[in-house]
Symmetry: C2
Subunit: 124 residues, 2 copies
DNA sequence: GTTACCAGTATAATCAAGTATACCAACTAT
DNA sequence: ATAGTTGGTATACTTGATTATACTGGTAAC
């Protein structure tokens, strides 16, 4: 039993080339940052060229103005997006993605891929 | 309203080559399936070769026995993992991943990649 | 014989995430 | 004039996810 533990530790820390600990940490970090129902769909929408509040809202089925408003604020604070007010008449507000925001591209792509495959799977 | 809806539908379905609607749907499906803090870390742990309950538990920082127990049950019901009881003495319980479970591999990999880059970014 | 491991369950509490609904001050098109 | 758009805010509420803590029955090692 004691032997077992020593062996397990050794195999995790020393033998495992992929370093499990670090990977779990990284995974949990990512889950923390993009957690919740709306973060990723909003990022996706803005990256797809939607700029205006109502435009983004309409592009995401099920989201409420409150949630969108809250998330946009937080994402602006975290430098994921940029909010620009154009002083035309009427005033126009535009949301655009930052470089940082684009770093989620691959994750979103993989998730879209999975979602599509999943639909196919349950259809047949 | 009726006009509007028809127009919106037309612009989405016809004009947009990447078919936004479908992609948002796929993305939201995926988020639904892997939602929560623990699903992905558990899948990752089991795919990394952890089989025993306490072994999985120890490999995921912060998880409680209750959450692990609940998630494992649900994941077994959804055919993401297999639970095997080996009637040795003492009885041994093993959790193993199914093929379906492996379909999350790319998502997890991308998320680990992002998490590592993120650590690097905030370190400097 | 007491300490520790295994595979969990039970109970209760907390707390953030999300919903529902209404409202606002501009502005615009009919 | 009035119905509708835009970019939101306010208030109240629900609920589901997660945590904390304790406990169980069996095995085994010291």
């Amino acid at each position: 039993m004691q032997e077992d533990k020593r062996h397990e530790l050794a195999s995790t820390v020393l033998d495992n080339p992929r370093n499990q600990r670090q990977e779990v940490q990284a995974l949990q970090d990512t889950i923390y940052v993009i957690g919740g129902k709306w973060r990723l769909p909003i990022i996706n929408s803005i990256c797809n060229g939607n700029k205006r509040f109502r435009e983004i809202e309409r592009s995401i089925p099920g989201i409420t103005t409150r949630m969108l408003s809250r998330e946009l604020k937080e994402m602006e604070a975290n430098q994921l997006i940029q909010r620009t007010v154009i002083p035309s008449t009427p005033v126009v507000v535009e949301y655009t993605s930052t470089d940082y925001c684009h770093s989620f591209g691959d994750i979103i792509l993989e998730m879209i891929k999975w979602g599509k495959q999943h639909r196919e799977r349950i259809k047949h």
